[in-house]
C-alpha cells in the first residue's frame, strides 16, 4: 500500500489519498493520470489492469485501487 501511495503522491502531491474516496467523481484524477497509474502499477507490482477494470469504483480511492491490485494478483 505504501508503494501505491507513493505512486499516487507523485501525480498529485496535495491530495489526501488515505481519506479521499472521490478521486474520479470529483475529477481529481483524469484519464491521463489513470493511465500513468496503471503503467506504474504494472511495472511495480507486475500486474496487468485490463481496460474493463477502469471504472470509477476501482479508482475512486487508494484503498479500492489497492483491492483491485490484490484481486488481479490472486487471479
Amino acid at each position: 500500500m505504501d508503494k501505491l501511495l507513493e505512486i499516487l503522491k507523485e501525480l498529485h502531491s496535495d491530495v489526501d489519498y488515505e481519506n479521499c474516496t472521490t478521486l474520479i467523481d470529483d475529477k481529481i484524477l483524469d484519464s491521463f493520470d489513470i493511465i500513468s497509474i496503471i503503467t506504474e502499477v504494472s511495472s511495480e507490482f507486475d500486474v496487468q489492469i485490463p481496460a474493463g477494470e477502469i471504472i470509477p469504483e476501482n479508482f475512486n480511492s487508494a484503498a479500492s485501487l489497492w483491492a483491485l491490485i490484490g484481486r488481479l494478483m490472486d487471479e
Binding site: 484519464s31 493511465i35 500513468s36 503503467t39 506504474e40 511495472s43 481496460a51 477502469i54
Partner: protein, 525 residues
C-alpha cells in the same frame, strides 16, 4: 423524417398519445414500431444496414453469454478437482473464445462503416499519390450509422468485459439500437443506463411530460431561431474565400460557434425532451461547454457521450494493451522515466484524436481538426506544472475575471480549430486565418458588408436575443435548473409562457424557402 417538420410533430403526437393509452408492457413495442416507421423515411437501404448491425451484435452478445455461462458452469462443477493453474488456463481459453466473437462483430460492423464512409476518401488518396484515375463509389451514408454502430459496439465490448449480461430478446435489443429520438445524432447511449427506463412500463405523469415538452421547445428555439437563421451567413462567409478574408475570419469563427452550438445542443435538447416525455432517461451530451476553462475541460463538457466512448473503448484499451506496456517499458529504459512514462499516454492520445477526426468525416480537414485538438491538449498537459505554479504565485489568476478570460480564450481557440469544419479544406483554412494578419481590413466590419451575408438588421437582432437567452439559461442553470423554476410557477402562468414560447418560435423561427431546416449538422457525421 426530420425533427423540424410538421410530419414529425404529428408522428410524435400520435405516438405519445398511443404510448400512454396502451398497456405498459406493450409500450416498448410501440417505440420499436415507431422507430422503424421513423427510420423507414430515410429509405429501405438504411433499414437493411441497421438490421445487419442489430442482428449481428445481438447474435454476438448471445454467443458470448453462452460461452461464459457454459464455462462458468463447468468450472463450478469441477471446482474441487481443479488446481489454480488449470482454472486460470481454462478461464483464459474462455476469454479467447469470447474475444474472437467480439472481434468478428467489431470487424463486421466497423468494416461496414469503413467501406461506406471511407472508401472514396481512400481512393482519393491513392489517386493523389499515384496519379491513378480510380473511379469513386459514391456510397450514400445511411443517416445515423456512425451513432448506432458506435452504440452497438459499446454494447458488445461491455458484454465481452462482463459489465452486464446480453439482452436475450432481439426485439428489445433492436429498440436499443434504433430508439428514434437519438438515432440520427446521438447521444451515444450505454445499454446498462438506457435500458433502466427504455422498456418501461411508464404511467402518464403530467410533470414528466411537461418537463420533457419544455426541453423539446427549448431545443426548437435554439435550432430554428438561432442555428437555422445563421446558416446563410456561415455559408456565405465560408463559401467565398476570396471576398471574405481578414476580419471576416473571426466573424465566421464566432458565427459558426453559435450555429453549431445552437444546432447540436438544440437537437440533443429535442432528443432528451422527447425521451423524457416518454418517461425515458437519455444521457446528457453537454454541460455548458462554452464555460470551459481549457480544451481538456471543453471536451469533457461537449459531446460528452462521444468523448467517453472514445475514452472507454479506444483510449483505455489501447493505453493498457500489452503492446503499449512493452513500448512503455522500452521507452523508460531508453529515454528515462520522465519521458518514457509519457509515451504510451501520448501515443494513445494521438491515435484517439486521429480516430475522432476520422469519425467526424472522411476528409483531411477533419483529421487535421482532430490532431490540432490533440496538440493543444498535449501542450496543456505538459504545461500544467507551470500553470499550477502560476496560479500559486499570482492571486489575480484565481479571480472570476481571470476565469472569464480563460473561457474567452478556450472559446476562440476551439473556434479557430473548428473552422476547419466549414472551410472543408486544410490549406484554404490556414490561408484564410493567415489573412487576419496580412490583410485584416477591420474597417469592413462597419461598411455594411455584414448586411450582405443574407442577414438583415432584424436577423442580427433576433440572433443576438437568442444568444442572450441561451447565455442567461446557462448561467441560471448553474444555480437551479430552469425547468424547476418554470414548474414552480402557477399553472396558468406556465401555460401562457408555453404558448408564448411556441408563438415565438413560429414568428421568429427560420424556415421556408432558403433555409435548410431539415438538416441538423451532426446528422451528416
Amino acid at each position: 423524417m426530420s425533427f423540424v417538420s410538421l410530419g414529425f410533430l404529428a408522428f410524435l403526437a400520435v405516438l405519445i398519445a398511443l404510448y400512454y393509452v396502451i398497456p405498459g408492457k406493450c409500450q416498448w413495442m410501440l417505440l420499436l414500431a415507431g422507430s422503424i416507421f421513423f427510420y423507414a423515411f430515410t429509405g429501405w437501404r438504411p433499414l437493411v444496414f441497421i438490421t445487419v448491425t442489430a442482428l449481428s451484435t445481438y447474435a454476438a452478445g448471445i454467443l458470448i453469454g453462452r460461452v461464459n455461462a457454459a464455462g462458468n458452469a463447468w468450472l463450478k462443477d469441477n471446482a474441487g478437482s481443479l488446481d489454480r493453474e488449470t482454472k486460470k488456463a481454462y478461464k483464459a481459453g474462455i476469454k479467447r473464445r469470447t474475444r474472437a466473437v467480439m472481434v468478428i462483430c467489431l470487424v463486421l460492423n466497423l468494416g461496414i462503416l469503413a467501406v461506406i464512409k471511407y472508401t472514396d476518401f481512400g481512393i482519393s488518396i491513392v489517386n493523389g499519390i499515384f496519379g491513378t484515375q480510380i473511379g469513386y463509389f459514391r456510397f450514400i451514408l445511411p443517416l445515423g450509422i456512425s451513432f448506432y454502430i458506435f452504440q452497438s459496439m459499446g454494447y458488445i465490448i461491455d458484454v465481452y468485459r462482463g459489465k452486464y449480461a446480453p439482452e436475450r430478446n432481439f426485439a428489445r435489443f433492436s429498440l436499443f439500437v434504433s430508439f428514434f429520438p437519438q438515432l440520427l445524432q446521438g447521444p451515444i447511449s450505454r445499454f446498462d443506463e438506457l435500458s433502466k427506463t427504455l422498456y418501461g412500463p411508464h404511467r402518464f405523469r403530467y410533470e414528466t411530460v411537461a418537463r420533457g415538452a419544455w426541453r423539446v421547445l427549448w431545443g426548437y428555439f435554439k435550432k430554428m431561431i438561432v442555428a437555422d437563421r445563421m446558416i446563410t451567413a456561415v455559408t456565405a462567409l465560408s463559401g467565398d474565400t476570396a471576398a471574405y478574408t481578414g476580419v471576416f475570419v473571426p466573424v465566421l469563427v464566432l458565427f459558426y460557434a453559435i450555429q453549431l452550438y445552437a444546432d447540436f445542443t438544440g437537437g440533443i435538447d429535442i432528443t432528451i425532451g422527447i425521451a423524457q416525455m416518454l418517461g425515458i432517461d437519455v444521457a446528457e451530451n453537454f454541460d455548458r461547454p462554452f464555460f470551459s476553462l481549457n480544451i481538456a475541460e471543453y471536451w469533457r463538457r461537449w459531446h460528452i457521450t462521444m468523448g467517453t466512448w472514445f475514452r472507454d473503448y479506444i483510449f483505455y484499451p489501447l493505453s493498457v494493451s500489452p503492446g503499449m506496456m512493452k513500448i512503455s517499458k522500452w521507452s523508460r529504459e531508453k529515454l528515462g522515466q520522465a519521458v518514457g512514462k509519457r509515451i504510451p499516454v501520448y501515443l494513445s492520445t494521438i491515435i484517439v484524436w486521429f480516430a475522432t477526426g476520422l469519425w467526424h468525416g472522411a476528409a483531411w480537414n477533419f483529421i487535421v481538426w482532430g490532431l490540432l485538438n490533440c496538440v493543444v491538449i498535449v501542450i496543456s498537459q505538459e504545461l500544467s506544472p507551470l500553470y499550477t505554479r502560476f496560479h500559486g504565485r499570482f492571486a489575480f489568476s484565481n479571480t472570476k475575471g481571470y476565469n472569464v478570460f480563460q473561457m474567452f480564450r478556450t472559446f476562440w481557440l476551439m473556434g479557430f480549430i473548428r473552422v476547419l469544419d466549414v472551410y472543408r479544406d486544410v490549406p484554404a483554412t490556414f490561408r484564410q486565418v493567415g489573412t487576419m494578419f496580412t490583410t485584416p481590413n477591420w474597417g469592413r466590419l462597419f461598411d455594411g458588408s455584414l448586411l450582405g451575408l443574407g442577414l438583415g438588421i432584424h436577423d442580427y437582432a433576433v440572433i443576438a436575443a437568442g444568444c442572450a437567452a441561451m447565455l442567461t439559461v446557462s448561467i441560471l442553470q448553474n444555480r437551479r435548473p430552469v425547468r424547476d423554476r418554470l414548474m414552480a410557477m402557477p399553472v396558468a402562468a406556465r401555460y401562457v409562457m408555453f404558448a408564448a414560447a411556441v408563438l415565438l418560435i413560429f414568428v421568429f423561427g427560420a424556415y421556408g424557402i432558403g433555409y435548410d431546416a431539415g438538416q441538423f449538422i451532426y446528422t451528416r457525421f
